[in-house]
């Protein structure tokens, strides 16, 4: 399992493929307060989209420069938005 769902957090590890977007989505829908810990070698766009749409609290690092520079900043937690 590369998407590990725990009580307080969801860990993304290894290579997260497109099919795991659904797991991530349901885990976040069930408990939106869960923190998402990024620790993956690769993350498919589908998972990024779930994060962009749900805007959970994120910790950890993006797997590549591009997502770190241009995607991650877009996932600001909802409560911080005006």
């Amino acid at each position: 399992m590369t998407v590990t769902v725990e009580e307080q957090e969801i860990r993304l590890t290894g290579r997260c493929g497109v099919d795991e977007a659904e797991t991530l989505l349901s885990a976040l829908s069930a408990a939106p307060h869960r923190r998402v810990v990024l620790d993956a070698e690769r993350m498919h766009t589908a998972l990024w989209q779930v994060l962009l749409a749900m805007r959970p609290t994120i910790s950890g690092e993006a797997p590549d420069r591009f997502s770190a520079d241009y995607i991650l900043p877009l996932i600001a937690p909802k409560e911080e938005l005006p």
């Binding site: 497109v18 977007a21 989505l25 498919h44 766009t45 989209q49 590549d64 997502s67 995607i71």
Partner: protein, 643 residues
């Protein structure tokens, strides 16, 4: 024709060919950016080269053609099909100009008018002047323009803007848009937006792509295109029009050239490395023997032997290919002879005709270049001494124009170069008496010397039969100089002559420098190479067996007295006295000579090339070679050193 112009003629032919091919391809497929860029580069380079000479009509015409292509490149537009024909006409005209330059050295007097007309037809060929060429889908779209203007600082470096709109269902095709974006090199700025607002949780479909990416990269356009080559329908790429079109074209990849000019030193490095591999390879048989000596080592020795064989084959192939790279046609040198003949004809007042055949035959560049000097002397000699004055020729029924023909043909691995003139020929009797008068031969020799041997006397240093020393052949540059330079290149020269009919000089040249076997000798701690071919045996003799004889030394070897020379004395390193001496017995011509050295070392095969640079001026050096361990040794030309 001077060398620079000659070089230009070759280059121009390649470039016009390239431009014509590209334009024809553009005619079939107007959207081919690679071809457009290539045509622009060819014309641009050609214009640059033309600028080195006083060829204004060509330059102006090329400039107009470059403008048209340059605009299309810069605006990322297609070239107007109506302009292809006028452009091709210009290329054809340039080609004709180049041919004329090669033949006559100058442009036709009508060239300026012809060029102006072509430029005019190029301008009227298109429906609009280049500045307002119709913008097709390749024009800079507004999104790209926004990106470019938002980041002015980076624009000087020539940037590429891209807009990637992944298809909503692209995940099912295996696409990963963010991964693709991450793969773009040198992203300077990117913006990620959504196609639609994110829906609520209930409607959210995680398998539907909803992102749109815009970015600028300082990488080459081709590199950016490569990332998206599988999804050209979802990507738009635009080149910043502000960036230099020239730079873009030079960088847009897909350079289609068939020849490259390479520094000779680089090729020589490859040839030398191949030679060293060959040397290294010769160490394997010893390993085979060692393996055989091992208990149960037969299988291993067989394997090593097999590797040795394979390696040998490959190394030989590598060496052949590397040697082939250095091959150039003889015409490279022959071309210079025509001008020389004209010059000589003017100086002597003798009408001359130079026939050249076999220029397509190839040889190593050093040989082809090195042939110019001996050919120059031979042709000068022929014009000066061989070809009679015009009235004399007419009186003996020869055509007024003297003919010198240079012909080359390939004979096995060597080239036979014949230089014949239809002049007065050489009288062996006159040679003999001249040699006798100058004290080169004795009266008895003069009486018994055969005709062909008499002609050999021509190669004696300082020999000349001409009563007057002319401006041309002059003093001191005789046939001996010809023989020396031919010999340096590993060739031989022979002369034959028929009185009143003409003289023929035959040069037999190698096509490339073959491997020679060399043995390393040491003297006073220094190492030199000696060609194995001249060594008949190696002997150890007591120091007392070397007896001083008049100014020199000699030794009796198997009832034969041979002169003895100490290599130390020749190279200026006097060896210590010893009780036993090591002597190489050399056969030079018909004579044997003993050469005393301190020791002998490894033997190896090497590629010997004539020395270049400073070493060229040093007498007695055949060339240099690199030993297996990287040391460089000079290979001695014993024939010269012992003469």
């Amino acid at each position: 024709m001077d060398d620079l112009l000659a070089q230009f003629v070759i280059e121009a032919a390649e470039l016009t060919q390239q431009a014509a091919e590209d334009l024809l391809a553009l005619d079939r497929e107007p959207g081919d950016r690679g071809r457009l860029g290539s045509a622009f580069r060819a014309i641009h380079t050609l214009k640059g080269s033309v600028g080195l000479f006083d060829l204004a009509p060509m330059h102006d015409t090329l400039h107009a053609a470059e403008d048209v292509l340059g605009c299309a490149v810069k605006d990322d537009a297609e070239i107007d099909p109506a302009r292809i024909d006028p452009l091709l006409a210009i290329i054809e005209w340039i080609d004709r100009c180049v041919q004329r330059l090669e033949r006559a050295g100058v442009l036709a007097p009508t060239a300026a008018d012809e060029g102006a007309e072509l430029v005019l037809s190029l301008a009227s060929g298109g429906s609009a002047p280049p500045a307002v060429m119709p913008m097709t889908d390749g024009a800079v779209p507004s999104w790209a323009q926004r990106l470019f203007t938002a980041h002015p600082a980076i624009r000087e470096r020539g940037v590429v803007a891209l807009r990637y709109s992944p298809a909503p269902e692209c995940f099912f095709n295996g696409d990963d848009p963010i991964a693709l974006m991450a793969a773009i090199p040198e992203v300077f700025f990117a913006r990620v937006s959504t196609r639609e607002d994110w829906p609520g949780e209930a409607e959210f479909d995680p398998f539907r792509s909803n992102l749109i990416f815009e970015a600028i990269s300082t990488a080459k356009r081709s590199e950016v295109e490569a990332v998206f080559r599988l999804i050209p329908d979802q990507i738009a790429i635009a080149q910043d029009p502000e960036s230099d079109a020239k730079e873009f074209s030079a960088e847009s990849g897909e350079t289609i050239t068939r020849t490259i000019r390479v520094d000779l030193a680089r090729i020589d490095d490859i040839v030398a490395l191949a030679g060293e591999l060959q040397t290294l390879k010769s160490g394997l048989p010893a390993l085979v023997a060692q393996a055989q000596a091992l208990e149960g080592g037969i299988a291993l020795s067989r394997k090593v032997a097999a590797v040795h064989q394979d390696l040998g084959r490959l190394v030989s192939q590598l060496q052949r290919s590397a040697t082939d790279v250095r091959m150039v046609p003889l015409s490279d040198t022959f071309r210079r002879l025509a001008r020389l003949a004209r010059e000589i004809s003017g100086q002597t007042g003798k009408p001359l005709q130079l026939d050249v055949r076999g220029g397509e035959i190839e040889a190593d560049k050093t040989i082809v270049d090195g042939l110019y000097e001996p050919l120059l002397h031979i042709i000068r000699n022929a014009a000066d001494h061989g070809i009679e004055a015009e009235e004399q020729r007419l009186s003996v029924g020869k055509p007024s124009k003297g003919t010198i023909s240079v012909s080359a043909r390939q004979v096995g691995h060597s080239i036979e170069l014949k230089v014949s003139d239809d002049g007065r020929g050489i009288e062996p009797e006159r040679i003999r008496s001249a040699a006798l008068a100058r004290g080169f031969i004795s009266a008895e020799t003069a009486a018994t010397l055969g005709d062909s041997d008499s002609l050999e006397l021509l190669f004696t240093p300082g020999f000349s039969t001409s009563e007057t020393v002319s401006d041309l052949s002059g003093r001191g540059v005789g046939m001996d100089a010809v023989r020396a330079s031919v010999r340096r290149l590993g060739g031989k020269v022979a002369v034959s002559s028929a009185f009143a009919i003409g003289t023929t000089i035959v040069l037999s040249m190698p096509t490339s420098f073959a491997m020679s076997r060399v043995i390393v000798v040491t003297v006073a701690g220094e190492q030199y190479g000696v060609p194995m071919e001249s060594i008949t045996e190696t002997v150890r003799i007591p120091a007392t067996a070397i007896i001083p004889v008049r100014g020199g030394e000699a030794s009796v070897l198997r009832d034969r007295t041979i002169p003895v020379v100490r290599l130390g004395n020749i190279v200026g390193a006097v060896a210590q006295a010893r009780s036993e001496e090591l002597m190489l017995v050399l056969e030079i011509g018909a004579a044997a000579v003993g050469l005393v050295v301190d020791g002998i070392g490894e033997r190896f095969e090497t590629l010997l090339r004539p020395p270049a640079g400073l070493l060229k001026a040093v007498r007695g050096i055949l060339g240099t070679t690199v030993l297996g361990d990287g040391r460089i040794v000079m290979v001695l030309d014993l024939e010269v050193l012992l003469a």
